[in-house]
């Protein structure tokens, strides 16, 4: 369908380029990585050997897991909210697409009617 007005084409480009949703667990992954980064940054700044020895201790792993978990627990709560928001975004994206399709079909029908009218008038 050719766009008669540049403005109509720009609107179509805007619709085509609506934001895409990331995977539902994207935020959780980012926060977990940030927590791990934080844990790694706060590790003692001593020599390599000592750092390796420290990381071999189960207690350190437990602490690191605890920090990650502490970062993740709030995300568990926000994960539900995020999923709901993800659903809402997806629903709204589908709604807008459905309305676009409906609009296109109505416009096509009108154009067809106009064409037939012109042919009948001739």
């Amino acid at each position: 369908m050719a766009f008669e007005e540049p403005v109509e084409f720009e609107k179509a480009v805007k619709r085509a380029l609506r934001q895409e949703l990331p995977p539902p667990d994207f935020a959780a992954k980012v926060l977990a990585r940030a927590a791990a980064l934080e844990a790694a940054t706060r590790a003692p700044q001593s020599g390599k050997m000592i750092v390796l020895a420290v990381w071999r201790k189960p207690a350190v792993w437990a602490i690191a897991a605890g920090i990650t978990l502490a970062a993740l627990i709030p995300t568990g709560i926000s994960e539900y909210r995020h999923r709901r928001e993800h659903q809402a975004r997806e629903a709204s994206r589908q709604l807008l697409l459905a309305l676009d399709i409906t609009r296109l079909q109505l416009q096509k029908t009108k154009q067809r009617l106009q064409k037939v009218s012109k042919q009948n008038a001739l």
Binding site: E85, Q87, A88, R89, E90, A91, S92, Q94, L95, L96, L97, A98, L99, I101, T102, R103, Q105, L106, Q107, K108, T109, K110, R112, L113, K115, V116
Partner: protein
């Protein structure tokens, strides 16, 4: 070639749809190369409308107003590599349903291989109980089924700037036909 598939958000049982069973149109897609499937029931429409409403803006408000009274929006579309790969008789289940459910065909337009039909379900108070569009072209078939309460002016907004004066005049005819029917009933 990549199939463009928009998955239904929910698989709706017939009872929940309170309307047409789209499974009866599945035959149309037997030889299709692409198909589009959008199913938005009341809950999903509310979710979407709430989300859009929160975003603000005139467009979002218009969409929200349009969607608020709706029970469902269903889109099915199939694309074919060439003409002759679907049987238009496979659309009859929908046409039969619309006829028996008292929908009125307000537009029928045929141009070579292309056929468009628009059905409206009149409601009291000058509103509509639904809009259905059946568009059968050489290499594409599209069905739009909107169920629920909407105003004719919302339908006009949906068609964009071009408007649908034909629908408007058809609606006028419809209203007059209703009035005449009521008048005849009184006279009988």
């Amino acid at each position: 070639m990549k199939n463009i598939l928009i998955m239904a958000l929910l698989a709706l049982p017939l009872a929940a749809q309170d309307s047409f069973d789209f499974k009866t149109l599945d035959k149309l897609g037997t030889n299709s190369k692409n198909h589009t499937n959008i199913t938005l029931d009341g809950d999903m429409l509310k979710l979407a409308s709430g989300f859009l409403g929160a975003a603000g803006g005139k467009d979002a408000t218009d969409v929200k107003n349009l969607v608020d009274g709706l029970k469902g929006i269903y889109i099915r579309s199939w694309e074919f590599r060439r003409k002759g790969l679907y049987n238009s008789a496979d659309l009859e289940p929908l046409r039969s349903y619309l006829k028996q459910a008292k929908w009125t065909r307000v537009v029928e337009s045929k141009d070579e291989d292309d056929l468009s039909e628009i059905y409206l379900l009149p409601q009291s108070g000058g509103k509509l109980g639904g809009v259905a569009i059946v568009a059968a072209e050489a290499t594409q078939v599209t069905v739009v089924y909107i169920n629920g309460s909407l105003r004719p002016e919302d339908l006009a907004k949906l068609s964009g700037n071009m408007g649908i004066p034909d629908i408007g005049s058809q609606l006028g005819n419809l209203k007059n036909a209703e009035k005449n029917t009521e008048k005849h009933k009184e006279e009988d």
